[in-house]
């Protein structure tokens, strides 16, 4: 392969990886311009470098993706989940093309067909979005004053700005024809350490009309607050152009999202619905006056009704808006006036034709408040209380739901509400009512996991059933650990130089180092021979000195080469955001993946052996652990589930945890299944602790789901996971609380380290036992060995220690020892268990590299591995736990 292509392949892979990761991150934090730029730049660079080669279909596909991203970057339209899907698929295809390019040095013959389908899809998406954006702009009317065009769906937080400020803003905007912008600013947590004063920046914005502050995420307790960390984010309404705001915020451009809005976006009446005939009458009269162009009549009707309504009512709010619009623009906005008039009559603000589509899934302010209110009702019902209070509570909750339904104009569900209430009363339980509200919630807000309006700090979900929030509602969730890790890593890697090295070269180095470590250990033996066999003490001493020097160097070399193979677990974790997102989407679940400790390092081989088990575990969590949003709501949990993937170093191990807040594992169900499949008997089941019970899932032949779900793989169970982990020298276990969640922990050695072993004789064979399992070695006279029910034991410092004959364990002929002879006993200890192993003799201590067994011997559990000795022999290393 020519050198240029060899350079392009890994570069292309990196760019594709960067773009993919950036897209996933962008989906969680829409509107963050620096992310869009990153993705765009990666794709742009890929387009450029691919142009050097004869790979036209590849370049065209990249070009199409770049065009789509370019539009997103220019804020022509927002990045919806569909667009992300399409782009990710295209990146997958590009990855495949690069793979073919690597092995065949040319694209596959069907590359053209593959890519044209994708290119067409990307192009269609672009056109669709363009037409949607165009449709949102109303055609200029011939009336006295052209209505100001709305550019994007208005951010949902706008409705929460106090009405009096919005009306003032409307008046100003309509009067002077200056543009209106609504922008959201989320400063970095550590911005104070850059000399920033974000509140001052927001409050000094040009043309400031309204300013709102809110917490960017859940706060710790007051006593734990860090005064030098910024935890607020701001919503600002300005009478200024987008350019002016961009200029004003140029130093923090990547923390700001600017949406150009029209004055009409400010018009949002709110309040509790009064209802009543008088409002319906008004709607008729006022409607007629409007149609007839009778401004005076309309104004009079508004004044009349306003004077008798409670100011906090929805209708009064709509009337104030009518007055505001009439004052500002007279009758020049008949559509808006008409909607407001109908709002008084219907108790809700009717949508415009075009606006409904462009708003898409954004609930208007009232709907999102209603959804929040209903969610609170479910939570109220779920809290435990006494009998006499619960009856009254049912009525209170039902009344609230009834009023809410009226307020949002969904009165046809009231009949269902009444029967749910009746059922709850009869059953003396809140469940029927809670279930009804749960269904109501999913109907009202299908993408309920998605970002909502101001009041509730709902965390943005990794995937949703419906489209992600439009660009007008940025949801920059609190900078989580993952991002913090990224920034820290960026700081580091920016300064270091990196070499690309072929994996095979490193493996070869590793093997040489291993052999060196073992070979050097032959020197002390040589020194002994020099003294004992050849009678040269001087030579022996010199050999020992030289050995010390070589030993030191070899240790350093070993540590150095080991560290080359250490990689951050981010290598392992990077596939999971995509995996979780895609799987959750397929199952209509909303799941957030939190990743911690990405920079923790472990040996490359260890990480590779973990890849499949981890995928299986995470898939299990998504598939069986986290419940669907309705079930979660009904259980009083948040609609979105969380999976936490965390890595940390503990002594010589790397510990990885996969924790979910799903439905947990029921120890009783596991026990029952284990008894059914004959794994344990009823007696054992009765005595088993819950912790031990749930860990039964790792037993061979067990699987907690009867059907094979295609998402979790071929029905392989956790036993395969455990085997793989143990093969890498580690351990895996599980803890769970039904209804609360499950945590799976994997612990693995940091490196395939050198093990110190003691060699022992058994007959004529030599075996090794890891020294850290050996507590001590003793010679026990035959007379002191007691036999109890054909088990042997002896007393060691007042403690009875069971004995085991190695020859028995290994099925080798036993060497007889006479009555008053001594047995050589090696006392081994694993955890709390202790036993004495009777051997035929002790030999030297060695340092070896233990390689796990494979092939025939792997099924014999009594050995943990083999080691290559300095003289070429193979030493079998015993597993002390298995001998006991």
């Amino acid at each position: 392969m020519n050198a240029l292509l060899a350079q392009f392949i890994p570069e292309a892979r990196e760019l594709i990886e960067t773009a993919g990761a950036g897209l996933l991150e962008l989906e969680r934090h829409p509107g963050q311009m620096s992310l869009v730029n990153d993705v765009f730049r990666a794709v742009h660079t890929l387009k450029g470098s691919s142009g050097l080669f004869d790979v036209k279909p590849l370049t065209s596909l990249v070009h199409a993706a770049e065009d789509l991203l370019g539009d997103v970057r220019a804020e022509k339209f927002a990045l919806t989940a569909d667009i992300v899907d399409e782009l990710l698929e295209s990146l997958d295809v590009l990855g495949d093309l690069v793979d073919t390019l690597e092995s065949a040095e040319a694209l596959a013959p069907d590359a053209d067909a593959l890519t044209s389908a994708r290119i067409a899809a990307l192009r269609t998406l672009r056109e669709l979005q363009d037409t949607a954006a165009a449709a949102a702009e109303p055609t200029p009317s011939a009336a006295a004053r052209a209505p100001l065009p709305a550019h994007e769906p208005a951010p949902a937080w706008l409705a929460a700005v106090p009405e009096v400020e919005r009306r003032r803003a409307y008046a100003e905007a309509a009067a002077s024809d200056t543009p209106l912008v609504a922008w959201c600013f989320e400063p970095e947590e550590d911005c104070f350490f850059r000399g920033d004063d974000p509140l001052a920046l927001a409050a000094s914005a040009p043309g400031l009309l309204a300013l709102q502050a809110e917490e960017a995420g859940p706060l710790p307790a007051f006593d734990d607050l860090d005064p030098f960390s910024c935890w607020l984010r701001f919503h600002v309404l300005c009478q200024a152009s987008a350019d002016e705001i961009h200029e004003h915020t140029r130093y923090v451009y990547d923390r700001v999202h600017v949406a150009v809005i029209g004055p009409d976006d400010l018009v949002e009446p709110a309040g509790h619905v009064f209802g009543g005939e008088v409002c319906a009458d008004f709607a008729e009269t006022a409607g007629a006056a409007l149609e007839a162009g009778d401004a005076g009549g309309l104004i009079a009707a508004v004044a009349a009704l306003e004077s008798i309504l409670a100011p906090a009512s929805f209708e009064a709010s709509a009337l104030r808006w009518l007055r505001c619009v009439l004052d500002a623009r007279g009758l020049a906005a008949p559509a808006l006036l008409g909607r407001l008039v109908r709002a008084v009559g219907e108790g809700r603000m009717p949508q415009t034709g075009g606006a409904a589509e462009s708003r898409g899934a954004t609930p208007d302010g009232v709907l999102s408040l209603a959804v929040d209110l209903l969610a609170v009702q479910v939570a109220i019902l779920a809290t435990s209380t006494s009998e006499d209070i619960s009856a009254g509570r049912l009525d209170a909750v039902a009344a609230t739901v009834r009023n809410t339904l009226c307020a949002i104009g969904v009165s046809d569900r009231i009949a269902g509400l009444e029967s749910a209430l009746q059922a709850a009363r009869t059953q003396r339980h809140h469940q029927p009512l809670a279930a009804f509200i749960g269904v109501l919630l999913t109907d009202l807000a299908p993408d309920f996991g998605a970002p909502a309006a101001v009041q509730s700090p709902i965390v943005a979900a990794a995937a949703a059933g419906g489209p992600a929030a439009p660009a007008g509602e940025p949801t920059m969730a609190r900078a989580d650990q993952r991002r913090a890790e990224d920034h820290r890593d960026d700081g580091k890697s920016g300064a270091t130089r990196v070499l690309r090295v072929d994996q095979a070269k490193i493996d070869m180095l590793m093997n040489l180092v291993a052999e060196l470590v073992v070979a050097k250990n032959g020197l002390p033996y040589l020194a002994k021979r020099a003294e004992e066999v050849f009678g040269s003490r001087q030579l022996s001493r010199e050999i020992k000195d030289q050995f010390a020097v070589i030993d030191r160097i070899a240790q350093g070399l070993q540590v150095g080469v080991m560290s080359v193979r250490m990689m951050p677990v981010s290598q392992l974790f990077q596939r999971f955001p995509r995996l979780v997102r895609d799987t959750a989407r397929k199952l209509d679940k909303t799941i957030e993946l939190v990743i911690e400790g990405e920079s923790t390092e472990a040996d490359k081989n260890v990480l590779e052996s973990l890849a499949d088990p981890l995928i299986h575990i995470v898939r299990n969590s998504v598939d069986h652990g986290i419940e669907v949003p309705e079930a979660r709501r009904a259980a009083g949990k948040s609609a979105h589930g969380t999976i936490r993937l965390a890595a940390r170093q503990e002594n010589d191990n790397v510990v990885i945890e996969v924790a979910d807040d799903g439905k947990g594992i029921d120890p009783e169900a596991v026990k029952a299944k284990a008894v059914r499949t004959g794994l344990i008997d009823a007696g054992q089941a009765a005595q088993m602790s819950d912790t031990d019970a749930v860990n039964l899932v790792f037993a061979a032949g067990f699987s907690t789901r009867d059907q094979v779900s295609d998402l979790s793989g071929r029905g392989v169970g956790m036993d395969v996971v455990r085997t793989a982990v143990q093969k890498a020298g580690g351990e895996v276990w599980l803890s769970s609380r039904p209804g609360v969640g499950t945590t799976i922990t994997l612990r693995l050695p940091l490196t395939m380290a050198v093990t110190r072993v003691v060699t022992v004789l058994c007959g004529s064979h030599v075996f090794g036992i890891p020294m850290d399992a050996v507590a001590e070695t003793v010679k026990v006279p035959r007379g002191r060995i007691h036999t109890i029910k054909d088990r042997e034991a002896f007393v060691l410092r007042n403690v009875v220690v069971p004995l085991v004959r190695l020859s028995g364990v290994l099925d080798l002929p036993a060497t007889p020892v006479d009555e008053d002879g001594e047995e050589a006993v090696m006392v081994v200890q694993v955890g709390r268990r202790r036993a004495g192993v009777i051997v035929d003799g002790f030999r030297e201590r060695l340092e070896v590299i233990v390689r796990p067994l494979d092939g025939l011997l792997a099924s014999t559990s009594v050995f943990s591995g083999t080691a290559l000795l300095g003289d070429g022999r193979v030493l079998l290393v015993l597993d002390p736990a298995e001998i006991m």
Partner: protein, 122 residues
């Protein structure tokens, strides 16, 4: 009012910025390089704003900012870099290192005053 600290190795630029600021009512101190600037702060100067050139003999402007961030009086002080750099990622790097913002050289009088008003509101 806390003084502005101006750091630049060109005496001409230092002088012209100083005169401009004084005329506009901003007390200010000058330093010809990073080390001198650090000396002043260690010696007790608590500036309300630091404006530093990027290219200077010895420590460059962004390194100076990083050092200043370690000193108590200037942990949270707004700091601006004078730069000819028009590339966004160089500016991003300056911000990551602790700069509040940047000014493009040669600085125009009204631009300087406008930024001062923004970053040092009084």
């Amino acid at each position: 009012m806390k003084p502005v600290l101006l750091v630049d190795d060109s005496p001409t630029i230092l002088m012209s910025m100083s005169v401009l600021l004084s005329k506009a009512g901003y007390p200010n101190e000058q330093a010809p390089n990073a080390e001198a600037a650090l000396e002043k702060v260690r010696g007790g100067l608590a500036p309300g704003l630091v404006i530093t050139d990027y290219h200077m003999p010895g420590m460059h402007g962004v390194e100076l900012i990083q050092e200043l961030r370690k000193l108590p009086p200037t942990r949270f002080t707004p700091m601006l870099v004078l730069t000819t750099e028009s590339q966004q990622d160089k500016r991003d790097a300056a911000r990551k290192a602790g700069a509040t913002g940047w000014l493009v050289k040669p600085v125009e009088a009204d631009k300087l005053l406008q930024v001062l008003k923004q970053v040092l509101p009084n």
